[in-house]
């Protein structure tokens, strides 16, 4: 299945629709399986975030530098992302409900966990918090 996905020639690579019919996915069980076997016993979300933050300090610093250096995304790009997200509607895709700009920052809300996410934009860098 993985080999099929890695074929360079896109005309010979299966589409998402075709790939779903692959026998590998016959073993896919219900989402409850994920809850029971992956999520059970995990520390609470905020604790996980803390651990990851500590682990990723070096990596984050690198990312920050990179975004400051060359990923000077324009407000248009962020707005476009928010627009794309508000146009799409599927149970397996993050849905954005609305977005607005305050003080050169673009705010949005999405349905995931009922949380709000913020896309912040300043002169040189773009950062996001989901």
């Amino acid at each position: 299945m993985i080999a099929m996905c890695l074929v360079k020639d896109q005309t010979k690579r299966p589409t998402a629709e075709k790939l779903l019919k692959h026998s590998f996915f016959r073993q896919a069980k219900s989402p409850e399986y994920v809850v029971r076997n992956l999520l059970q016993g995990l520390p609470p979300l905020w604790e996980r975030v803390k651990v990851i933050q500590l682990k990723d300090v070096a990596q984050l610093a690198l990312k920050k530098m990179r975004s400051a250096e060359k990923e000077a995304l324009s407000q248009d790009d962020i707005r476009r992302e928010a627009q794309t997200m508000s146009l799409i509607d599927h149970p397996n895709v993050i849905k954005a409900y609305c977005s607005f700009v305050v003080d050169r920052r673009l705010w949005g809300s999405n349905a995931f966990y009922g949380r709000r996410f913020m896309l912040a934009h300043n002169e040189n860098s773009l950062s996001r918090w989901f």
Binding site: A16, F25, L39, R48, T84, I88, N92, F112, Y113
Partner: protein, 85 residues
């Protein structure tokens, strides 16, 4: 990706991969039908909620096949995450 990093450093078992990948593919199938391409599908952009529901996020570098001009050209350029996240 964070669930994997925190509790499953050697990766998920096949059953879990099959479910998560299947749900992700369903979202891609939908996006493609709508004319969108995501262009940055990776573990870090696949979210799992407390009910086990799988959601694809981050449309920062996505593109629409029906766009014209600049966006059209941009589909031949490299976007995504270096090293594939």
């Amino acid at each position: 990706m964070h669930i994997m990093k925190i509790a499953y450093p050697d990766g998920f078992e096949e059953y879990a991969i099959a479910i998560i990948l299947k749900e992700t593919l369903k979202s891609l199938e939908y996006l493609h039908r709508q004319g969108h391409i995501h262009r940055d599908v990776k573990a870090g952009n696949i979210l799992v909620d407390s009910g086990g529901a799988v959601k694809l996020g981050d449309f920062g570098v996505s593109a629409c096949m029906f766009d014209t001009g600049d966006r059209q050209r941009s589909r031949n350029t490299f976007v995504g995450t270096p090293h594939g996240g």
